[in-house]
């Protein structure tokens, strides 16, 4: 990370951009105290409570059949949603950054729209489409197609909630990179797909991976929207976050926190991957992928 270093002040010369040492200390202490209260303690308490009854109880909670079924469903949802949003992100970024057309700003606004919609409202939208009183509900029910309270519904709402994540990483990156290399490849006789696979994709690979990592974390951890459409059927439509909620509401606190550690580890792995990709992208020159 190429960050500005505040130069150490040589004796008798005061750096005009530095504050007195006392002020520096107070500010650092304040910031760290705030972050400790809001980041470290919540993270710590998850592991402390999950392990409070020892390793055996921890292992029992995370390897119990309902927990395993929740892990499997969560992985299935991510396996459906992440590739779909990856394709969408690539297509949207290509269209938006490589061509001029009317309504482009509106399109970009629409891509961001899911960020301003409460997850619960996202769930409601799909109930209004596929529920018993929904637009397509009765028609689908006659044909025996089930969307709500099953995997397709969970995957659909999760795809909605995580839709912007890959596209938002790629659009600024591809905008900044421009298309000179692509045009050179075409001039040299590459077919469009050769150009895309061998020039365009490698150019954005770190940003792309960054978006995928983020999309995956959010897809596996989505709670509100999934809660609306899942029906909470144990062993069938319970994802990991919903399993945590059920255990917690049944006062099985240690088990709830034990399962929650799995999700906390997912979050920590995501942060580590982000840091790694950030570092990779900066090392290879050019701006690193944007954060958050």
């Amino acid at each position: 990370m190429s960050r500005e270093l505040s130069p150490p002040a040589p004796p008798r010369w005061r750096n005009p951009r530095a504050e007195p040492a006392a002020v520096r200390w107070v500010l650092v202490a304040l910031a760290l105290a705030f972050l400790a209260f809001f980041l470290l303690l919540p993270l710590g308490v998850v592991f402390a409570r999950g392990l409070e009854k020892g390793l055996a109880a921890y292992r029992a909670a995370v390897s119990e059949p309902y927990a395993l079924a929740a892990v499997r469903l969560t992985l299935q949802v991510a396996a459906l949603v992440v590739p779909a949003n990856l394709l969408f992100g690539l297509a949207a970024a290509w269209a938006v950054t490589r061509f001029e057309f009317r309504g482009k700003n509106l399109l970009v606004t629409l891509i961001d729209a899911p960020f301003s919609v409460s997850p619960v409202i996202a769930g409601l939208l799909f109930v209004l489409l596929f529920g018993a009183q929904g637009l397509f509900g009765p028609w689908l029910m006659e044909r025996g197609v089930r969307i709500l309270f099953s995997l397709p519904g969970i995957a659909l709402v999760t795809a909605f909630v995580t839709m912007p994540l890959v596209a938002r990483q790629l659009i600024p990156l591809m905008q900044a990179q421009g298309s000179d290399e692509e045009q050179a490849a075409l001039t040299l006789g590459a077919t469009p797909w050769q150009m895309f696979l061998r020039v365009s994709l490698p150019k954005v690979r770190w940003g792309l991976l960054y978006g995928v990592v983020l999309c995956n974390a959010r897809a596996m951890g989505e709670f509100g929207a999934v809660s609306v459409v899942s029906g909470h059927i144990r062993g069938k439509t319970n994802t990991l976050p919903l399993h945590v909620e059920i255990l917690y509401n049944e006062y099985q606190f240690q088990a709830a926190f034990a399962v929650a550690t799995l999700l906390a580890l997912l979050g920590l792995t995501t942060l580590a991957a982000q840091a790694l990709l950030d570092w990779q992208a900066r090392r290879r020159g050019g701006a690193g992928p944007g954060r958050a």
Partner: protein, 277 residues
């Protein structure tokens, strides 16, 4: 696609835009159309009755109040954290910098039960606050605390790059013209940061207004008191009151978008004033 219809030298316009529009249409436009249709099927009198019920109004007030309060805290501490991370060296700085994104990566349900466990009267923080007569868990304060957690990364991450790219000459000039350090920071540096901070506040607000998972555990969820709007929508759905859920959701969504637009406008104006003044 024939060369005749090509827009510029690159291929794939039809394919990429076609896929993008179909995906957006199916996943975003169609569901929104369903919401608008359903909301429009209610008579205005019935709609008003549903959204002006005391329980709904209280939920709106709590959701907006807590999100605004949390965004204000995050504006202040976001600026502080960004400043400390960019300007000072201290051991563990890189680690702390990486951890700032935790609220974005940690599933919200986990955040919810973790914060509740901390602020419950038997929890690490709650037990320390109880003798002082401060109760956080199961109160409105608890809702705000959860939203501070959820919104924490946004201001930090929008301000950091601006602070990093700020011309050192700007501050040096102010100092050489005799400005005290705090004057330089307040009159020269801060105005440069405000537009980015405003963007961060909008993002934090958008997230906080709709947040559900991290709030419902710590909120206590008493109707009219500690019940947020998304939870009320959830409860209406569980009662199969689709009309009630739709009316509250449509109103809440419209109000949220209006607020986000207003804050965006405000921060844009601030940015322009800073650029001119």
């Amino acid at each position: 696609m024939g060369a005749r219809r090509r827009r510029g030298p690159l291929p794939g316009f039809g394919l990429s835009l076609g896929f993008t529009l179909s995906y957006l249409g199916a996943l975003v436009l169609l569901p929104f159309a369903a919401l608008v249709l359903r909301a429009a099927s209610l008579t205005p009198a019935r709609f008003w009755e549903l959204v002006s019920a005391p329980r709904a109004v209280a939920a709106f007030q709590l959701s907006f109040g807590a999100a605004l309060a949390a965004a204000a805290v995050n504006l202040l501490f976001g600026l502080l954290v960004a400043w400390v991370l960019e300007r000072y060296r201290f051991p563990g700085r890189r680690l702390v910098d990486g951890l700032v994104d935790l609220p974005f990566a940690l599933p919200t349900a986990v955040a919810g039960i973790a914060l509740t466990a901390l602020y419950d009267e038997r929890g690490w923080i709650g037990a320390a606050l109880a003798p002082l007569g401060i109760q956080v868990a199961y109160t409105r304060l608890g809702v705000a605390v959860a939203l501070v957690f959820i919104g924490l990364p946004f201001v930090v991450r929008t301000v950091q790059p601006v602070l990093r790219d700020l011309e050192p000459a700007l501050e040096e000039a102010a100092a050489s013209l005799g400005a005290a350090r705090w004057q330089t920071v307040r009159r020269v540096v801060l105005p440069e940061l405000l537009p980015a901070a405003g963007t961060g506040v909008v993002l934090a607000l958008a997230r906080g207004l709709g947040e559900y998972g991290s709030v419902i555990f710590i909120a206590g969820n008493l109707p009219g008191l500690t019940e947020i709007a998304p939870l009320l929508i959830m409860i209406r759905l569980e009662e199969y009151d689709i009309a009630g859920a739709t009316a509250i959701a449509a109103t809440f969504l419209a109000a949220s978008l209006l607020l986000l637009f207003a804050v965006n406008l405000l921060s844009w104006r601030q940015g322009r004033k800073a650029a001119v003044g």
